[in-house]
Amino acid sequence: MKRAYWFSMIMAIPLLTLGSLSFGDDDDDNFFKFWKRQPGIAPVTNVLYKEECGSCHFAYQPGWLPEQSWREMMSNLEDHFEDNAELSPANQKVILDYLVNNSADNADYRRSKKIMRSLGDASTPQRITEISYIKHEHDEIPAQLISKNDKVASLSHCDACHQDADKGSFSERQIKIPGHGKWDD
């Protein structure tokens, strides 16, 4: 009995370690995925991307821009919208691969498809906020609530109003504009 007890204690170590890893798995490929509401855009899954890019700004999902836009952006990180965002060559490659594999033209998500439809074939925008689909979605909101609202300040701060932005969910029900409240179209 005692031996069995100790045996289980020792076995618990690798099990605990493995267990905590498997919780992090992406369950999008789960058999029951059609039961769950799909987010509008693929949520960020790459830890390095979240850490390296998300430490300065909202970690924009790769599905907001086409592949060529990401390639262009990643080739000039030394002047990244007037900030220096240089990466080590190794990290740069991992992040570029992640962005390209999940870019708007390679993603099977509703909002990525809308982005691609609103862009012309040759268009490779650098700013998500300049894509006509994004502009159109926000065109009824007065400047007082976004650019002139101190707590928002810019359309590029997605998560200031979109409560579940980091989960890839941008539905209207999850909008809460600071100092204003819910947004009804």
Partner: protein, 139 residues
Amino acid sequence: MNKQRLLHVFILVLFAGLVLVNGQSHASVANDLITEYQQSGAQQPNPENARELWTQKFRYKKGENTRSCASCHTDNLRSTGKHVRTNKAIEPLSPSLNSERLTDAKKIEKWFKRNCKWTFGRECSPQEKSDFLSYILSH
């Protein structure tokens, strides 16, 4: 028996925690770097020089705008800062308020490179980095 079992579970959790975290303290990581900088020519670190440089304003391009360390980190290492462009909150640099600060040498070098280039338009010298580390350690 029950108490003993609880104790064993406690030890197990503690052990797992130690294995997972296994972090180095901020002082040892920073001091190792300071030693490295000295090997590449830096003198004794001087926190006073870093304190002065911290709020010194640097022009960029030809505009009227200026940049300093304090633009984002504020002039108090114990306060929460704010990224000037993105408004994202920046946790205090003070290791006594933020235990994650100065615990990862690679991260320290990465931010030195990015932030020195952004603020001063060039990389920092080993002496300056040494000064900054000692300045941050003193908070």
